[in-house]
């Protein structure tokens, strides 16, 4: 798939995210929009998977550790052909498979139920370890947030993946620098972040998380790395693509109104208005 095609899909996914959240009346737009490009790159370029055979044993695994941003994944899975796009509009409603945070039992196209921050990376390590133990060559991808790196279990998992020589594990960190209550550096700074992951013996890369050529290059480099797991720190913009949401912590966990949603969609489709 070409870069312009990926960019077009990412736009569609962002539009779907806004539509879903408007219909749901709640949810997390900021982080869903900041991780959209990496999710797009994974599902539409990097990962080996079969939408017509979701339980294919050799599929690459994807764990969204930052489970609150699952609208971006629902939109990607629908676009990829796993299920009808209309169903995404049932997000967060009674009897829907589209739980507010992913539930693999109700919705088997996600690999793991997540939503308690700090835990998903351990599950991804387990999937990668199972591949090693079972002679499988699938790869495991995991998207984590910046804020959840404040949880100790992230560093337990970080210690274990190099120990188990998991060169089949690639983690992308959605470093949008904002968490629910404010700026990450103010709440509990992660810096020096790359040094931390390096000190834990990870192969580390740092990229612009909205630059598709950079994302694809990094994913390829991670796949070729043969000496343990790779961490791709993706510098991102919270609320990316919607001017009034960008870099605003207020949009971490608040759904746009119908009017705000229309404005957001117009901006995503046509590009943000010039700064006033």
């Amino acid at each position: 798939m070409t870069i312009p095609e990926l960019e077009a899909i990412a736009k569609e996914i962002r539009v779907d995210v806004i539509r879903m959240l408007v219909e749901a009346g709640s949810g997390h737009p900021g982080g869903s929009l900041s991780c959209t490009d990496m999710v797009t790159a994974l599902y539409f370029h990097q990962m080996r998977h079969r939408p017509d055979q979701p339980d294919w044993a050799d599929r690459d695994r994807f764990v969204l550790s930052k489970g609150h941003c699952v609208p971006a994944v629902y939109a990607a899975l629908a676009r990829a052909g796993y299920f009808e796009r209309e169903e995404t509009l049932s997000l967060r409603k009674l009897n829907s498979r589209m739980q507010g945070h992913p539930d693999r039992h109700r919705f088997p196209y996600v690999e793991a139920s997540t939503g308690s921050l700090g835990q998903g990376l351990s599950v991804a390590v387990g999937m990668a370890l199972a591949a090693k133990a079972g002679g499988k060559d699938y790869r495991t991808y995991c998207v984590i947030s910046d804020g959840e790196c404040q949880a100790g279990q992230i560093w337990e998992a970080a210690m274990s993946a190099p120990r188990f020589k998991l060169d089949n594990l690639c983690v992308l960190m959605d470093y949008n620098h904002i968490q629910l209550s404010g700026v990450t550096d103010d709440i509990m700074s992660l810096e020096p972040l790359l040094d931390k992951w390096r000190a834990f013996n990870w192969n580390t890369l740092e990229i612009d998380g909205h630059d598709f050529p950079a994302i694809l290059d990094a994913l390829k480099a991670a796949e070729q790395h043969r000496d343990g797991p790779t961490m791709i720190v993706c510098q991102t913009v919270k609320g990316k693509g919607v001017s009034f949401m960008e870099n605003r912590w207020e949009w971490h966990g608040k759904a746009p109104s119908r009017e705000e949603g229309e404005q957001a969609i117009a901006e995503i489709v046509n590009g943000a208005p010039p700064a006033s």
Binding site: H105, A112, S113, S116, V123, A133, Q153, A157, S160
Partner: protein
């Protein structure tokens, strides 16, 4: 068999099962010599993973391996692994991950290490999770059967094991039947319903009661969840008096499970014998005497129901 710590039988059994089941893997958190997974680690090194002293990560890694088709036994002291309740709730239970949580060193019977290593809340916590089975074998032969069963049970299980040796209560030829109470002795006046390491004292209590002219049934409940409701309802009807006994806090474990079933039936009385305080270092017998789990305590509880 003779008196044996149930953790020892677990270690032997899981190692043997792995010879023929390539999906079995064992995770441990730097306690292999205590959880008795050491033998597994030597016999199946490619399927043994020590995560270090990081039980939360062990729970998540085990869940991930289960979701990828493995059958992980994740092992630590019961208090440490169940202490990661929220990870178990999310990564194991909610994911419907086929993880076998093995908690050794259950209860105050572990002795000298003291309260920090004594799991007395674990069954209560695990019982609250909708799909978690809770199994506590009482002796070696029952442990062997329980581990064999658990390996092929489809879904998460919490297996609770002892540090200390426990006497045989089942005879040779015993067959483990998941979810079914085991009547060890018949009796008409009162039913003594126990689980795990206390069964020897429960049998002794029945002797003490017999000397007083009270005929006590003794039943061993190895499956605390799903509890054998049919058995409890039948005993509540036929005996009317039930004493529950466990080396676990008095809230949340076997006693609670039995009391819930009896309350919903609306017939019969229950007296719970269990741990009500933070225990301390000491020998098992001394601790059971001080904290209310001796044969004398159990028989006294039964006598209290006889009015």
């Amino acid at each position: 068999m003779s008196a044996i710590a149930t953790r020892v039988t677990f270690g032997e059994t899981v190692t043997r099962l792995a010879d023929t089941n390539p999906d079995i893997v064992v995770l441990d958190a730097d306690l292999r010599k205590s959880t008795m997974t050491d033998e597994f680690s030597r016999k199946h090194p490619e399927r043994f993973f020590d995560v270090g002293i990081a039980e939360g990560n062990m729970v998540g890694v085990g869940a991930g391996m289960a979701l990828a088709g493995k059958i992980p036994f994740i092992c630590s002291f019961a208090c440490f692994v169940v202490g990661r309740f929220e990870q178990i709730r999310m990564a194991v239970a909610y994911n419907r991950a086929n993880v076998k949580i093995v908690g050794t060193h259950a209860g105050i019977g572990i002795g000298e290490d003291g309260y920090s290593q004594m799991a007395t809340e674990d069954m209560g916590l695990m019982r609250t999770l909708p799909n978690m089975a809770v199994v506590q074998p009482a002796d070696g032969i029952e442990t062997r059967g329980a581990v064999e069963y658990i390996a092929q049970h489809d879904g998460p299980v919490f297996l609770r094991l002892t540090r200390q040796k426990v006497a045989d209560v089942n005879g040779e030829g015993y067959e483990f039947r998941f979810g079914k109470a085991v009547v060890l002795r018949e009796g008409a006046d009162v039913s003594l319903v126990g689980t795990g390491a206390v069964m020897e004292n429960v049998l002794k209590a029945a002797d003490l009661l017999a000397a007083q002219g009270i005929s006590a049934q003794v039943a061993n409940i190895h499956t605390i969840k799903p509890i054998d409701t049919g058995f409890i309802e039948s005993v509540a009807s036929s005996h009317g008096r039930i004493v529950t006994v466990e080396d676990h806090g008095i809230s949340g474990g076997l006693g609670s499970a039995v009391a819930e079933a009896v309350a919903e039936l609306g017939r019969g009385r229950v007296k719970r014998v269990g741990v009500t305080e933070f225990a301390e270092s000491g020998d098992t017998e001394g601790l059971y005497g001080k904290y209310g789990l001796s044969a004398e305590h159990i028989s006294a509880a039964a006598v209290g129901l006889m009015d």
